[in-house]
């Protein structure tokens, strides 16, 4: 699914890397625990989370995630946006809850991540 379509389905606003919205993600994962994100996610996928701190971006950097969607209308400060921009990670923000966001994307055809190993 193209990131532009993700943004449209979630009524989400892009916070950085607007030039990458035509890129695709193959699967998604929703969690506020970065420990689980590190254990389950693969590269070029999409993370939905209500946790907003610099470690979310660090986690995305290590895993080479393509996009993070901050749910529940969380405020994202400039430092986090700059970190994401430096790592080329697209940031989206939506007012929808984690549950609703995951449901909308799943119904739209975006599957959950499969653990690799």
């Amino acid at each position: 699914m193209k990131l532009a379509e993700v943004a449209a389905l979630l009524d989400a606003r892009a916070l950085c890397c607007l030039g990458r919205l035509d890129e695709e993600v193959s699967a998604a994962f929703g969690s506020d625990m970065m420990s689980d994100v590190l254990a389950f996610m693969n590269e070029d996928t999409l993370l939905l989370t209500g946790l907003v701190n610099a470690h979310v971006i660090r986690t995305a950097e290590m895993l080479e995630l393509r996009c993070i969607v901050f749910v529940r209308g969380k405020r994202v400060n400039e430092e986090i946006v700059e970190l994401a921009e430096a790592q080329n990670v697209v940031l989206l923000t939506t007012e929808k809850t984690l549950y609703e966001s995951c449901g909308v994307l799943f119904a739209g055809g975006l599957p959950g991540v499969k653990r690799k190993k």
Binding site: D32, S35, D36, L38, A39, L51, H55, R58, E61, M62
Partner: protein, 140 residues
């Protein structure tokens, strides 16, 4: 062949991940295959977080030669009470403030194991813990 040491201080959550980020950049720069770079970065980040959360301080050492990459995490204590339990998914001794940051789900050490080719851990109470993760560049 080269080796680099990255000191990691206990409790320094703000800078946690900086050593792993440097390790990832170095490996990319010297042309290590992307899947191995990613595996080493994940293992480095997990072990760096463990040093910040659980240890009294320590260091990560990255050694690279044409055949093997080795990542070593070494700390000065306090040591792990039950290493077998620490290697089980879901077992965690992390405090609540760490969980509030999104970590401490008990996935770290098993995740390091899953993201390396060879894994060794040695721990002694009062002395410290050493974790070695190896990656073989030939035949992989």
């Amino acid at each position: 062949m080269f080796s680099r040491v990255f000191p990691v201080q206990k409790g320094m959550f703000d800078t946690a991940g900086e050593a792993s980020s440097k390790i990832k950049k170095i490996l990319k720069k010297v042309g290590i295959p992307p899947d191995i770079v990613r595996d080493v970065a994940i293992a480095a980040y997990e072990t760096e977080l463990n040093l910040v959360i659980h240890s009294l301080g320590g260091e990560l050492t990255l050694s690279v030669n044409p055949e093997i990459i080795e990542l070593i995490s070494q700390d000065v204590g306090p040591g792990i009470n039950d290493v077998n339990m620490a290697l089980k998914e879901g077992y965690s001794t992390a405090p609540d403030d760490v969980r509030d940051m999104g970590f401490g789900a008990g996935m770290g050490l098993p995740n390091v194991q899953r993201h390396c080719h060879e894994f060794q851990i040695a721990s002694e109470l009062g002395r410290g813990t050493t974790i070695r993760a190896k990656y073989f560049l030939k035949n992989n």
